[in-house]
């Protein structure tokens, strides 16, 4: 029978600074565990095949598509989701910039987009428009047409330097 006789794996996921010990099945993705075991529904499921970026999280500081990462394989890694970037209730400057620029319409792509932007700005605090566009190449947005997203990220860069 499908699913029967699968051996569970105990893993420790460090998510947004806190350790969670969870039992996972061998085929469970990190996306599945974050959403369905830990209730972090800011992480979205779009395609499940690495193409849309809705499931983006930071793993050890780098943006990756959590739909293609096995939860078992993420054992011991430092994971950041959109729930973890505000500081004691105060929005992260990138979140603020997205709101101010009107870079959010339905919002489905937003968590992934913001995490990708965060990783970019940490590596490169002064990106050109071209570098921003290249960085978000793997995050699809079906609503905005990207112009306001790019603007928000460039604005956020300025805010973060100030």
């Amino acid at each position: 029978m499908v699913g029967k006789g699968q051996k569970m794996i105990r893993v420790t996921l460090n998510v947004n600074g806190r350790d969670y010990v969870v039992e996972v099945k061998p085929h469970w993705t990190l996306l599945h565990v974050l959403r369905d075991q830990l209730g972090l529904t800011g992480v979205k499921y779009g395609c499940g095949t690495g193409e849309c970026g809705a499931c983006t999280v930071l793993i050890d500081g780098k943006p990756m598509t959590s739909c293609l990462v096995l939860a078992a394989s993420a054992d011991g890694r430092k994971i950041v989701t959109i729930e973890g970037i505000a500081d004691k209730g105060k929005l992260h400057p990138i979140q603020e910039a997205f709101i101010e620029a009107g870079a959010i319409q339905c919002g489905y792509c937003t968590p992934g987009m913001i995490l990708t932007a965060k990783a970019l700005l940490e590596k490169n605090p002064n990106p050109t428009e071209e570098e921003v566009r290249r960085a978000i190449d793997g995050n699809l947005c079906r609503c905005t047409g990207y112009v306001k997203i790019v603007k928000a990220i460039l604005e956020a860069a300025k805010k973060m330097k100030a």
Partner: protein
């Protein structure tokens, strides 16, 4: 429909451990490196996952004899590596540019791209053009195979039960060697409809060695050897004059299929165009055009 429901997951700490699990489980086991192919394919026959992602095989090192790239080097590591800036190794970094997205390239590995053995894979052509060798570890120790001989069909390589790819070795190229990689896909992130790597080594104004390697136009990446022979021994001027014929010959050597991505005739004609553009690019860089 059967689903991907492996019974057990193993994360190995040593290559030896990986080899013994792979030997024990044979075809029921799947290696997990980055997982960007495996977790899209989700093959239902897989019962055991052998996660090699923490093995110390993520490196890119240049030595006197050549460049060694660990199987777990990620595509973004390769793109950014200072060891791969210099000609002709820059073609390896260049091959990653249009592969997937910046998000998948943070964990997709070179070993996974090679071992997945897709005829359209973007890393093999430039590596084959540089005469790279696959360094394999298995139950009976280590062995080496030219990457050119590594592939035996779509999704099939020479890896035997218990074996894994540990490293790619790119021998030091002779002086005056330049290479180029070109890819045509529907969008730049998409899987290649055709890709090509061309490498030329020039000495005293004469072409000493040529490689033309085409992907997605046959069951494995192929060398267009008849076209290569047309180039060898020729002067740069002459090459500029016969470039069109060389590209046509290379296209004749392909055996493309029609599928969802492109019809065979289209692949063959794109193979010709890309080969021509690649030669043109090299002629300009060698100052012979």
């Amino acid at each position: 429909m059967p689903l991907f429901r492996p019974k057990e997951y193993f994360r190995v700490a040593t290559v030896g451990e990986a080899v013994s699990l792979l030997k024990r489980f044979g075809g029921a086991a799947a290696i997990l490196a980055g997982g960007t192919d495996l977790l899209v394919a989700k093959p239902p026959h897989v019962e055991y996952i052998v996660d090699i992602s923490r093995l110390p095989l993520n490196y890119i090192k240049k030595g006197a004899r050549g460049v060694r790239i660990g199987a777990l080097a990620t595509l973004n590591d390769i793109a950014a590596s200072p060891e791969l800036r210099e000609e002709p190794y820059d073609v390896i970094a260049r091959s990653t540019w249009d592969m997937g997205t910046p998000l998948t390239k943070n964990f997709a590995t070179i070993g996974g791209n090679i071992c997945n053995a897709a005829p359209s894979a973007d890393m093999p052509p430039s590596l084959i053009a540089l005469d790279a060798e696959a360094r394999i570890i298995g139950p009976r120790g280590k062995r080496r195979v030219f990457l050119e001989d590594f592939f035996i069909g779509p999704k099939k390589s020479v890896l035997k039960r218990g074996e894994l790819l540990a490293e790619i070795f790119v021998p030091r190229a002779p002086a005056n060697t330049k290479a180029v990689f070109l890819k045509k896909g529907r969008t730049s992130e998409d899987i290649a409809q055709v890709n090509v790597a061309v490498r030329l080594t020039v000495d005293d104004g004469l072409c000493k060695a040529a490689r033309i390697v085409l992907g997605a136009v046959a069951p494995t990446p192929i060398r267009a050897k008849a076209a290569e022979r047309m180039l060898e021994g020729k002067g740069l001027k002459e090459i500029s004059q016969i470039m069109v014929d060389v590209a046509r010959k290379a296209a004749e050597e392909t055996k493309p299929i029609s599928d969802v991505r492109a019809p065979a005739e289209y692949r063959r004609s794109v193979a010709e165009v890309l080969t021509k553009r690649a030669l043109l690019n090299l002629m300009e860089r060698f100052g012979g055009a």
